[in-house]
Symmetry: D3
Subunit: 317 residues, 6 copies
């Protein structure tokens, strides 16, 4: 097919339909790999170096040998964008994924195998982003706790995400739109299942202890923007009670940048609607990358839904 | 190729070279799957029903929909054996693996996708088994702790095994032959990285609290054999001190059945060589399945090494 | 009013409208008290002595001086039943509550105050029992954990139940009918918010470690009945995974005796309907006390609903 | 009685003797409520808004619906003061308490009941304050640990205080004057049983991690005063060893503002007598509110005891 | 001096005044050693082999090389008794201590040094035993928790006992006669500071989980005697609440065998006096070793005190 | 012997051969003591007051009565240096040790005994320091966890160091040169077995939460030097993942001041060789005390080894 997406796999650029790995790959069998998710703004990779640096840490932690330098991998990722971007619409941005597994398993079960490296683009779910920007998302604390650093480091982006998926399933029992706010073993607020969590209390952004959560590139970006907007922030050990009494809350993640959180366990946060700080930060992010994030998301909605959401957005201004 | 191995993948029996999944499969990207490992004795699957039952529990836990009944999957596994066994030597047995992932990821990140189901055979590493039966293996307690049930259930056979692989890497710093004896967060002895751990103290087999470890089919088999041999056993909370003062210890796992452990952290267990109870149990297992397990393993060794090991085995009798 | 209920309060039998305590009572201000809940069968208090013995433990733990002997209190409770039973219908049974607070607070905040002792009857919610006997209840594990023995003993029946109420609120976000299955800090299954939890696995009743939960009189009764019915039971450390793979589960509590549990976190237990063991135990309980528990509950339903439920009950037999 | 105290209860102002709740109130039965304690200086409520804000958080946490706005409740509290203050002596100040329970229990055990709201004044124990200001109090770490946030939030002012009362009983085994210094589950210093705990080390006030203790209004006041007096402070994780080696320590609480602590577990803190920083802070507090706190407390002592204490106070200056 | 006691030190039998080690010995500097305490009955060492076996475990755990066989050490201990017993009175028994340190420290801080081995006799404190047999001892749970097996194994008899001594100091703040009942990190009852703790509840002896406490030789002896007396026992996780509601409790230790416990944290256990089971067990122990333990202890009392205690003992029979 | 070293013991200055304590001393038997290690630079004690202050805290914690003032002890330590320094070479510095035990044990086991106080000098292991300065040391995280503050305060320098020695033995299984990097029970990086651990990440020195580790005098010195060199530092909760991704790491301790760490668990830190910040800090330390620390250490090497190491040092500059 003429415009089939182009994937990278083990040194080659191949059409999506050929980007396949053996079912004996340790990544498929045992989640024995690490990964990164990036996205573009105006077709360019955002903070590539920060993502590569985090990936480097994940590789050190998991003792997986990438088989190439981080710079070489960076070039690969840029080429993956380039190969696919020619088919994108003007307004479109995408996610770029890189997955590195320890490679083929053999019966001796030794760790020193040759890595499998894959990279590919994926559509961003703009219609959902549009709804979430305008309406915010409810969150729920599931019973399942975030894996502790004693067992698997939450700071390495490991391919074994069952901990997150079970938490997600529990939260969605309450509401299919709900996101899980995972707690640590000590009951402290940790993170979402694919996003960092921040909240605003008495004029300060509160950052759950970063030492036990993934060092989110988007979270760091939000803190930089907060600094520019003169919003102070502090890091600490927080519990659900702190969130119940917060003024605003938000999730940050590479695909959607920042999404407002409107409630926790059915308790409204602030007025129970997206707050002004969330909107300022989202706006500032858009200015930084030259893309109006709401506009971009709206442009992927069916006309009718777009009109409804735009009205809601204006009403809440 | 005439005798390329036959794999099962999503309803079809295909040659190994075609048994591939997309790099977008949630199993490859996020370890979002569950699995089982079985083996044959005299070409027949051992305790198929127990393995299917455990797999059923793993599927319930992870909310993955198999898309077929457990019985249908049982038939598939038997056919995988049948398709491949025709090329096996008389004396040969194999591992059979089944991996079930949640299937293809899509940008909406919903959990309700269509599962990927793969099954295939793999060679057993008989030369290593032979050495380990005769010489035993040293064990080391790594700093990394077994994932607690609060985060991911150790009783479900989840595809996210990074916890085990990091532990294995730590143990092998001491000795490339060393196996990791993982402790729980409370410091209690839990399990090996791919095997259950048992030890013998004052004439009783001690079983680390089974509520926090995988319910090993081989471990249950050993306990049944122990019952037949009038060796009592008890389950409890044990610490490394209990192992240091034990008389024997062993690992149990589907591929090798049972292997003696000769030391923990450099402290010899008993006399520091495989003990007689281990040998009795291994012998009883062989009688149960009609295969002399040592003989079978020896038959895959180069002649020279075989002779040496046989001498060692006789010497220690 | 002629048949206003008769309450006991600090040595006197008074009509309900006069059974009041000062808002300065330590029980009202700080939950500084202990309590017991009993019920009648055929108008007679069930296992009065066991309840008094547990109350005695709660008083020792909380250093509250009852100001009378346990025997005297037993006589009081029997008289409370007697005073009120004259107004009951033939078929009716009731709950009897006793609450003992440390009494009036004074500004010196000393603990050695004179206890407030209250006892009274309350209607049993038979219509709900009828629905739950027939349809079972779903359960959900909330994020909030059971208070650990280090902080407040779960074995003393303390008046400070906010831990339970927050858990209940979390579970009911999923389903207003859902009961919370609370976990301990270690992630082990503990108890419901006003009931003990048991489950049936491979023919055995599994009892969550009784050392960290309330020693339920109803739970003990179920275990005695199980013994009579030749159903073995064992006590241990269990996790949600054990419940997902169970065959049946039930809650036991004084008001309703035993109610089937049909799911946990949306995962069906067994066939997802009340099981035959639950029914046998409920039947045996009825025989023991000379009351058909289903019949009694049904008799309090509106005719229409009664017919529907009886049909459902027959269908599931 | 002409000057019986006036209480507020559920919308009405009534004499103390009529301020009673049913023994079926969930507050009395199960400590199912929240509360606040305020006091006056010169007859005016101190930091009313901060107390209302904290109460608001407690209500959110416990899912209790106050049934009126926080402002309306504020007006109620002011009126309670007004109604009672007419009978106070010139020099006198009082505690004002507000208790909000979830209201009457019914057999269906649903949480959505109509709240009981009570407010009333109480004498301050000035004679004890006088002794404690001058002599300080000894503290003891009881074995019972502060309830962890995983179970019940220590930041919500919940009516279930048995955790504190058992701790108090344990500490008073050592000395009837001793206050309990509760530790968290991790062994870190948390708080007193009705007061926050601070200590002075190397010229800095050390504040036990506020994320796991009640956000004390008095503690915040002390930190503001410290700021004015140029005494730096820091928040952190502290253990008893830090207190043994401290120079001073104090308890802060609404009724008495600040009281010096002279020892922990029999180990003298500093010189084992109230320190100068405690005295400066107490003095500064008095200046802020226009009341000499020592003088006020002394004025409630019998003449003889007053003389003795004044001598002691002068001697230690 | 003619009858100076004879000590063993590093291969030699020397008078007490010469049994000295360098202040550079690792035992003195860093508690880097292990030890055992035995006693005689009728001048003969009691259960020598069990003590040697436990010492062997302590040596394995601490990686200290004894430099002689356990049998050789046994002979040494017997000779220590023999050398000293010639000066003992007919009725007298003694403690025998063996201390093994890792030996002299050197600046390279290597672990492989040559052990220091010392053994000696010590007087038993019979007057205290007499009082404790008759009156029992109160116990107190200190805030300090028993060292967890993750850090130092409680099953090895390590020379670093500061954990115990701080606990003892805390308990003795309540009462100089009080013994500390240490809890584990999980709040479970563990052991005394130099004795095991057992209690009797509903006719069964309850044994705190032996996996986390020292495997006491005296405790094992008591369990054997209980077996002979048809008193059942069970092992489990117990909390202070279980002790408050117990019927009897006792401490077991080599020097005094068994001593009744009469209260915990001021809460009387049973009737608050030594119970009949304690007395039966003590009597049975005496029969086993041919020594009336009460008589022996009484014989070391001053006449006056002896008369008083004998009266008390008769009164309580 | 003319130049036998002079030790201090219980008020007297005696030759080394006479500095002996009874095997009945509680320090030898039960590690019942505390200690400090100091060293000289140019023959003068470094930071004597800080060491005495820390010792004072250790004595308060352990309830040991020194029997003299801290100032008197300071004079003793200076005299110990003076008595021995006359025999030292020009270039030589030494360690000075002080050990305070609770003194002689007696059968009553009371804590109020008379302390044993010993002080002495010891050679510094300069040859090892030279190798470690130039080559750095590898570190390994052992399975054994640092004793938690709940059990024994890590901030008091207690004589019971078995926790450290077992950790050391585990780490040295990997490499005889390896140092153990102990983790806390929560898996956070704590300290070495006789040294504090620091690392450099993104230009900042990271200090593991000092509240749970010994307050190292050398660590504080390094932080002061860092301040002078404009290297910022921060304290926090760190895990091994943070160390894997660090740029440099080092151990600080009184004998050697600062030693570079080149790897953790086989993962190279930075370039896997000593880093420039370590060298700058070591150089700055030398300037502060007027001793070139590398030169001093080199001067104690055999000529051949010295030449090799100097070459290595130059090569890495």
């Amino acid at each position: 097919m003429a415009n089939e997406a182009i994937f990278y796999l083990n040194g080659q650029f191949v059409p999506e339909s050929q980007a396949k790995v053996s079912v004996m790959d340790r990544g498929f069998r045992w989640g024995d790999g690490v990964y990164e998710t990036l996205r573009t703004f105006q077709g360019k990779l955002f903070k590539l170096n920060q993502h590569l640096e985090r990936l480097h840490g994940s590789l050190l932690y998991s003792r997986i040998n990438l088989g190439q330098t981080m710079n070489e991998l960076g070039t690969v990722l840029e080429r993956v964008v380039e190969e696919n971007a020619r088919y994108w619409q003007a307004n479109e941005d995408h996610e770029i994924h890189v997955v590195v597994s320890r490679g083929l398993a053999d019966p001796t079960r030794r760790l020193g195998t040759s890595a499998t490296v894959a990279a590919f683009v994926e559509h961003l779910d703009f219609p959902r982003f549009a709804r979430d920007y305008v309406r915010g998302v409810p969150m729920v604390t599931p019973a399942t706790r975030r894996t502790p650093p004693q067992s698997v480091s939450p700071k390495a982006k490991i391919s074994g995400k069952m901990n997150h998926f079970v938490a997600q399933a529990e939260a969605q029992l309450v509401d299919p739109r709900a996101e899980a706010l995972m707690l640590g073993l000590d009951g402290n607020v940790a993170e979402g299942t694919g996003a960092n969590f921040l909240f605003l209390s008495q004029g300060r952004i509160c950052v759950p202890n970063r030492r036990h959560v993934l060092g989110g590139v988007s979270m760091e970006t939000v803190l930089e923007l907060a600094h520019q907007l003169d919003i102070p922030w502090e890091e600490g050990d927080f519990t659900p009670h702190d969130v119940y009494t917060a003024d605003e809350a938000f999730l940050t993640s590479t695909p959607f940048c920042l999404i407002p959180v409107i409630s926790l366990n059915g308790v409204a946060i602030g007025a129970g609607v997206p707050g002004s700080t969330a909107n300022h930060l989202l706006h500032a992010w858009g200015e930084m990358v030259g893309v109006d994030l709401l506009d971009q998301a709206f442009s992927f909605l069916p006309t009718e839904e777009r009109r409804t959401l735009e009205q809601e957005a204006r009403a809440s201004d």
